[in-house]
């Protein structure tokens, strides 16, 4: 049984038209479906129906979805969720456009996480037969695909235990304030061989810190930064390298204030990867290895 990857992030936006301008024209995603005030979008290299849902009214995370393998995984996870003492319910085909039946879990951090194995495939823009490396008609940054999300939780140790015991994620990197379990400040966890598919740091329950798109490399990051300047997108920080995950990054904000990231690189993990530890005195280097200094608000500001 296995969780494959982050499938979609569903966020609230204060103004749908402005949000669409950002996600379609600046980031380069395509709208694939609209219903009930929600806009569903995919990036060019996303194979499945959508990877971002925008819903007008407010700001912050509605829920996120992770795709699982189709081998009874959902039933196995359902029983593990109840043994853990968390709550979940069955989710029906059509609750999310293009997505089949699944499980809707309320995490110990109060975030809503959906798991599904069936999803309509709209296909990547380059196709699966003798494809080009990228499509010719990209807009803006032309983000290829969604990569990970980082959320906040009052109890990182509890959430890490949940992802490990229920969803079989492993920690790649851990930020600790001491040796006790309760001293865990953040954890970057993976389900495949990325450095992280989900991450969380200590903070308010139910909040979104950011969700990230994977892009090719440093050149793509710098070019993304150019597009952000052309479109006057507020930058949080970057381009810089993360100590944690070793990835390159720019953090920026959508027109409602939800934080996005473009992320490039990072090492590979796998089932035998031994977790890396960061101590709090080196947290700034862990987050921004290049500048070794972060605004205190970087960890506090969430939507």
């Amino acid at each position: 049984m296995a969780v494959i990857r982050l499938g979609y992030v569903h966020v609230r936006v204060t103004d749908l038209a402005e949000a669409r301008q950002h996600y379609e024209q600046t980031l380069g995603m395509d709208t694939v479906h609209e219903e009930n005030g929600r806009t569903y979008l995919k990036s060019w290299d996303d194979d499945d129906h959508h990877s971002v849902v925008l819903e007008e009214g407010g700001v912050g995370l509605v829920k996120f979805g992770y795709k699982v393998t189709d081998d009874g995984t959902l039933e196995t996870i359902e029983s593990k969720v109840s043994s853990f003492g968390a709550s979940c319910e069955r989710m029906s085909k059509g609750d999310n456009a293009g997505v089949g039946d699944g499980l809707r879990i309320t995490l110990p951090s109060e975030h809503v996480l959906e798991l599904y194995s069936e999803v309509e495939r709209l296909g990547t823009k380059v196709g699966k037969l003798n494809p080009d490396p990228w499509p010719r008609d990209l807009r803006g940054i032309g983000v290829p695909r969604i990569n990970h999300a980082l959320v906040t939780t009052e109890d990182p140790a509890l959430l890490e235990r949940f992802f490990r015991d229920v969803l079989s994620f492993r920690p790649a990197e851990r930020l600790v304030a001491g040796d006790e379990d309760s001293d865990l400040v953040g954890s970057w966890m993976y389900c495949g061989d990325q450095p992280h598919d989900i991450a969380f740091v200590k903070g308010a329950n139910g909040k979104l810190h950011h969700f990230a798109y994977e892009i090719d490399d440093w050149s793509a990051l710098l070019r993304a930064g150019d597009i952000m300047s052309m479109d006057d997108v507020p930058i949080d920080f970057g381009p810089a390298r993360h100590g944690i995950t070793r990835g390159g990054t720019i953090y920026f904000f959508d027109p409602s204030g939800n934080r996005n990231e473009v992320f490039a690189g990072g090492y590979r993990t796998g089932p035998d990867f031994r977790p890396i530890t960061w101590t709090m005195d080196q947290a700034a280097r862990g987050i921004n290895y290049t500048h070794r200094e972060i605004d205190q608000d970087f960890l506090r500001v969430v939507t």
């Binding site: 407010g58 912050g60 507020p234 027109p255 204030g257 608000d297 500001v301």
Partner: protein, 115 residues
């Protein structure tokens, strides 16, 4: 133009029509506390001591509710002065910066002036 006075730093700048408090301060070289500059994160939250502010763009109720607004709370990154205003940043610092706002662009090259 409306006067924007920031206390306790005792700085005064002039906001252009439609310009937010944060953007006016940036244009004069002052970096007040903000993060997203889009009214979503609340990092810029301050107190309005005098005058009136307008929010031309929607701000989420979870970030600034009507009650908080009535009690004087404001989000300088999205708030546009309707009158001369006094904004209290409390113990938050103002930093001197050189900031560039979004440039005016001529989409049609034929409209461009100059040599």
């Amino acid at each position: 133009m409306k006067a924007v006075r920031v206390v306790p730093h005792d700085i005064e700048v002039w906001a252009r029509p439609g310009e937010s408090v944060v953007d006016a301060l940036r244009r004069y070289g002052w970096r007040s506390p903000y993060k997203c500059r889009r009214g979503g994160c609340g990092a810029c939250r301050a107190q309005l001591r005098a005058g009136e502010l307008l929010y031309p763009r929607a701000v989420a109720d979870s970030v600034l509710s009507a009650t908080e607004q009535a009690a004087g709370a404001c989000l300088p990154c999205r708030a546009v002065p309707l009158t001369d205003v006094v904004i209290d940043l409390g113990s938050q610092p103002l930093r001197a910066v050189l900031a560039s706002s979004a440039p005016h662009k001529n989409p049609d090259p034929a409209e461009q002036e100059g040599p």
